[in-house]
């Protein structure tokens, strides 16, 4: 490994001290400290999934002069929140399309008055026939979107599958489904809007994407760029959940604040957050795979259907990523992938770590397990045989000449975890345990996944990612719009800058993003912060070094080309040494300021064809293998992860402690999604979880012991070779978990969450009912 001073070091997170002392300021804290007179905002929501909004009735017994009310007709600008399409209404106007859709907004001086006001509003909605499921949408029970309810669709043409299937010895089909998943960022959604006397609107809160909010608010209020200022507070977790929703909530707070000319803060309590905010798209994915007897894949035909909910929000881009990750880490000579997202009268689904890829990876990994069973191969061997290698072509025609590490991570995870020995032993022991009636069983399963870093397609080339670095009093201040929501951007970006600048980490600072100060380096999404913002930041810092090198050379009247820069020290031709901090101080003395702004440049051509939906989909892929051991309680049908071996190829771990934290956290979320994180839409269109006692995420006792290893094959695009890794681990946990349960119990489940009840059902399918009385048997198990 190259000799770095700051990069690759486990520097404790720079935003850590305020966090461990209780001084970090999240929105609710900032409201308390800075906004004592702020009003609180609340939302009147539809309780009908689909209907015509006839009337909003305001109870005359309530004194409406105490509060401010905004309905669709009171909006100062167009009635949409700018996201991917300009179609998500700020407030419902003629129709409501899902339960919890916002119909009116109320601001009140305090929470009690707000609650009373909200209770004094009734909605008259004439119900229409809603579309509640993917099937109802596909069969057009009602047409609620366009002509056929299909919100978006994409196709990858990866060659003649008919020929591929002909060459196959075996054709295997399977349908896989994944459920909704809620982010449960520990800090619920919250946004504040502060109107200033000079006509600017300041927006603050828990956000991933400052300029998304900026854009949405300026459009909704009809303000010009400079009149909207977005300032991030600390963010108590995002995981994608704060990608689009803060634009919605920010616009709503702004509309209220604009009306009353007072600060308005809207902070959801957990129940409102669970009921109204986006969750991971449920997906149903059909696989048809042709394989030779030795396990070689000849063809893959994949059909993805996702539930978008009632509006596009981010669905279009999520579906793209899902389609592009559909074949997982495998090479197939022929492939056809079709992806559709369909509308339903349910809350819009949205971004959650992985962004469509986890659903695809779950399906392809389970399909591999199924094929392995049918061929009598170990799932590991089938995978190793088919992993994509350097120089091989993805179905969308991207060819990676280097850095393809699917095989490496898989082989290493298998070795580290003792997968082969355990897989065989646990299967043997399960049979013995079955005979003895033992309570607990072990199982191990393995999965391999990839994740494309950065935006899909050409978006990184066209986005114009820009960063600014300014020098002030011994500190290089980094201005980017990368939010630290826990993933570590506020530490990793300074590490990158400090390495380039040759200064200790203490001489670099990354303040909370503020659109008045920070150029647009894009949203904090798509595992792009380290890889792309880090890259532009490194480029900006190199430019500072270049400028200072010229400056010290000029002072010494020597050729800049003969000036060297090492460990933060310039040495000019005469041998005179100047530290970068001294040089910067001198520079500021002479010119008044030292700062530099740089924009992302694509050195090559953008090799993505959006029309054909093919080409270089991503500029770098991270690779991960998860070998997971579970323990299953055969009395209570509880499956719990006990050991997780995670091997990830990350290009370069800028901060290995933070990076491994990301890997552990992401895999654990995948484990939760596999068995305990369960929420559905009931027949009235409502989410079934209202509390954290109903939507269960893993606790300390539901987490495995971790063994994490990172491989580093530097990637050309990222700074110091780093790849994006934030989402990568979200792709690996679930399929490994289900494979492990299969190893322990013999149950092959093609869906998640595999809750205890579902596991019981599957076991009864395999072994029959254990205690059913004759009476129940006659009723045919009616209670199922």
């Amino acid at each position: 490994m190259a000799d770095f001073k700051v990069v690759g070091k486990p520097i404790p997170r720079l935003d850590g001290p305020p966090k461990v002392t209780g001084q970090a300021r999240f929105l609710a804290d900032r409201m308390r400290l800075d906004l004592p007179g702020a009003w609180v905002g609340g939302t009147v929501r539809s309780d009908v999934p689909y209907g015509r909004l006839k009337e909003i009735r305001f109870d005359e017994a309530f004194d409406w002069s105490r509060v401010a009310v905004v309905t669709a007709k009171d909006l100062p600008g167009p009635n949409f929140v700018h996201i991917v399409r300009d179609e998500y209404p700020i407030l419902a106007e003629e129709t409501v399309n899902y339960v919890t859709q916002a119909v009116a907004l109320i601001a009140a001086p305090d929470a009690e008055t707000l609650a009373a006001a909200l209770a004094a509003v009734t909605l008259e909605i004439e119900p229409m026939t809603p579309v509640m499921t993917i099937d109802e949408s596909l069969t057009k029970k009602s047409i609620i979107w366009g002509e056929d309810n299909v919100v978006d669709s994409y196709r990858v043409d990866g060659g003649d599958v008919a020929r591929g299937f002909e060459e196959a010895d075996l054709i295997v089909e399977g349908t896989y489904s994944t459920g909704l998943q809620e982010q449960i960022y520990l800090e619920p959604q919250g946004m504040g809007a502060i109107p200033h006397d000079d006509g600017t609107m300041e927006i603050t809160g828990s956000i991933q994407c400052p300029y998304y909010v900026h854009n949405a608010v300026k459009t909704a209020l009809g303000l010009d760029d400079a009149r909207v200022r977005v300032v991030q507070t600390e963010v108590g977790g995002g995981f994608g959940g704060k990608e689009d929703y803060p634009s919605i909530l920010g616009v709503r707070a702004a509309v209220l604040a604009n009306k009353i000319k007072k600060p308005v803060v809207m902070i959801y309590d957990r129940t409102e957050d669970l009921h109204a905010t986006p969750k991971r798209h449920p997906a149903r994915i059909h696989h048809k795979t042709g394989v030779k007897r030795d396990g070689t894949i000849t063809a893959m035909e994949i059909d993805i259907v996702m539930d978008a909910g009632a509006y596009t929000t981010l669905t279009m881009v999520i579906l793209q990523r899902s389609v592009l990750h559909a074949t997982g880490c495998y090479y197939t000579p022929t492939a056809q992938v079709r992806g559709r997202a369909v509308a339903t009268n349910t809350p819009p689904t949205g971004a959650f770590r992985g962004f469509g890829a986890p659903q695809s990876i779950f399906a392809v990994e389970r399909q591999m397990d199924k094929i392995a069973d049918l061929l009598g191969m170990d799932p590991l061997d089938l995978r190793l045989k088919n992993t994509i290698k350097n120089g091989m072509r993805f179905p969308y025609k991207q060819v990676l000449e280097s850095g393809v590490c699917a095989h490496d991570v898989l082989a290493r995870a298998a070795e580290l975890s003792g997968y082969r020995e355990k897989r065989a032993r646990y299967a043997r022991e399960a049979a013995e345990a079955e005979a003895r009636g033992d309570r607990y069983r072990r199982g191990i399963g393995i999965s391999v996944a990839l994740h494309g870093g950065g935006f899909t397609g050409a978006a990184e080339d066209t986005m114009g990612t820009t960063t600014r670095v300014a020098y002030r009093d011994g500190v290089f201040v980094l201005y980017t719009t990368s939010v630290d929501m826990g993933q570590g951007a506020a530490t990793v970006l300074p590490q990158i800058a400090a390495e380039v600048l040759g200064v200790p980490i203490d001489n670099v600072r990354h303040p909370l993003p503020d659109t008045y100060e920070c150029p647009n380096s894009g949203p904090t999404v798509a595992s792009r912060s380290t890889m792309f913002i880090g890259r532009v930041l490194a480029q900006t810092c190199r430019e500072i070094v270049r400028r200072l090198r010229d400056f010290v050379a000029e002072l010494d009247d020597t050729d800049p080309a003969e000036t060297t820069f090492e460990d933060g020290v310039f040495t000019v031709a005469s041998g005179k040494k100047t530290s970068i901090l001294e040089a910067a101080d001198e520079y500021v003395k002479k010119f008044g300021a030292l700062e530099e702004t740089q924009k992302f440049e694509n050195r090559g051509k953008s090799a993505w064809d959006p029309e054909k939906f093919e080409g270089d989909a991503y500029k770098g892929y991270g690779w991960i293998a998860v070998s997971l051991e579970v323990e299953v309680d055969m009395d209570t049908y509880e499956a719990n992860p006990v050991h997780a071996t995670v091997v990830a190829e990350v290009g370069r771990a800028i901060n290995p402690v933070l990076a491994s934290g990301q890997l552990e956290g992401g895999v654990l979320q995948g484990c939760g999604w596999s068995h305990i994180e369960s929420v559905e839409v009931d027949d009235k269109g409502r989410y079934t979880a209202s509390h954290m006692s109903e939507y269960l995420v893993p606790t300390f006792l539901d987490a495995p012991k971790w063994n994490v290893e990172m491989l580093e094959v530097p990637c050309e695009v990222g700074p110091f070779g780093a790849k994006g890794i934030g989402e990568l681990p979200a792709n690996g946990g679930a399929p490994a978990f289900l494979s492990a349960v299969q190893n322990a119990t013999g149950v092959f489940a093609p869906y998640i969450p595999l809750t205890g009840e579902k596991l019981w059902m599957e076991l009864e399918k395999l072994h029959g009912e254990k205690y059913a009385t004759e009476d129940e048997t006659q009723k045919g198990g009616a209670s199922r």
């Binding site: 002392t21 402690v657 305990i676």
Partner: protein, 464 residues
Amino acid sequence: MKIQITLNGALKELRVPPMKRMLDVLREDCGLLGAKEGCGEGECGACAVIMDDALVDTCLIPAIQMAGRRVDTVEGLAAPKGMGDFELDDLQKFFLEEGAVHCGFCTPGMIMAAVALLRRNPHPTEEEVHVSLAGNICRCTGYEKICNAVLRAAEAGYGDRLTPGRNLCTEMRPVFEGDEADKFFSPRSLKEALDVLSSQRDVLILSGGTDIGPDTKGGRIRPVRVMDVFSVPEMNGIEVVGEGTDAYIRIGACATNTDIVTCAATRKHLPALVIASSRSGALAMQNRATIGGNICTASGAGDLPVALLALGALCVAAGPDAERIVALDDFITGYRKNVLASDELLKEIRVPMPAPGSRQVFYKRGSRKALTLSRASLAFYVDVRNGKIAAFRASAGSMSPVPIRLKNLSAAMPGRALSESLPMEAARLAYGDVNPRKTPKYRKTMIANLTHRFFSEVCEGVKA
């Protein structure tokens, strides 16, 4: 209401409404913003602080219960020296070095959970760290880094150096002002409490607050009058009373789950109750949830009543003139209903001393390992004499609106000889004894499985 508290080692006088949440008192009245609201229902631990050495979720504690208490928050560990300059203690430093902090929202609560643990147990095992911090949800990490930070602090002697501070309060009770005096009561003797009930109507009895908190937040209850009985001495304490066959374990109605888990008498004589107490909620909840509250709330998902039914517990109701003893079966009359008259209090629970050599178990199936409501729970008590079942009781929770006895099983087992076929027979009887409304066959099967498990252990080594 005026109260005194000892906040981070300093005396503090506050004037706050009695039912204001401790979380809001800390944030709004004390200016301490470290405790965060992640759920407001005791389900995440982000608001956890230490009160009188016990970890508590401040979203569930009304201000009335803060009076005279020592409260330690994250702000008391190390103060910022200046803008952007922090002096960290070892635990905080290790949290950062080990990567135990990501978004930081759970961190203050997590750190206080660690401090509470290291105060009572300066050198915990890994398992003890996991259990003690299980009520604090972290969505960012895989938890292990947090455990590593705590273990490292323990190794560095962090816990050995922790000393509980002195309580500086001179007034231990709340001083009610204006019409509060007619609505809020904080008695410190049973007589005082019973007098309140005799003279007032619609009095909500507040013990640990773990049910009342969420119920108030959810709008299910709107208390008119509230009496806090948590500190009534006659309603506290656990001890063995009497000798021989008449002996019983007396458990004050306001004994907490933690009291039950840590008390030598319950640990020795009532292991099923100890397991039920330790698996109900997580630590911060167990520190406040009371046995009397769990019984009086009379929810079908309550864990302690299930264990107590199997143990043959009796309830002592204290009224203005006399006490009466009611079997637990009769005490709970329906979902969230009990036998108490409006002027009565559940004073204590008496559990008959289990016969020497008898066995008792409590099984629980939640949907995750900690901080979970029961999907199914089951308790057994059996006394085997000379290979025959001499005494037997079985009960189940989450099967109906209230905890129930397994009737047919209980009727069939006494007098039966242990045999190889008994477990299956018992399992089938148990299967028929429960009829849960939701997902019936799944939960019936679990009850049968666990019954089979218990009887297999009881019958181990017995040949047909």
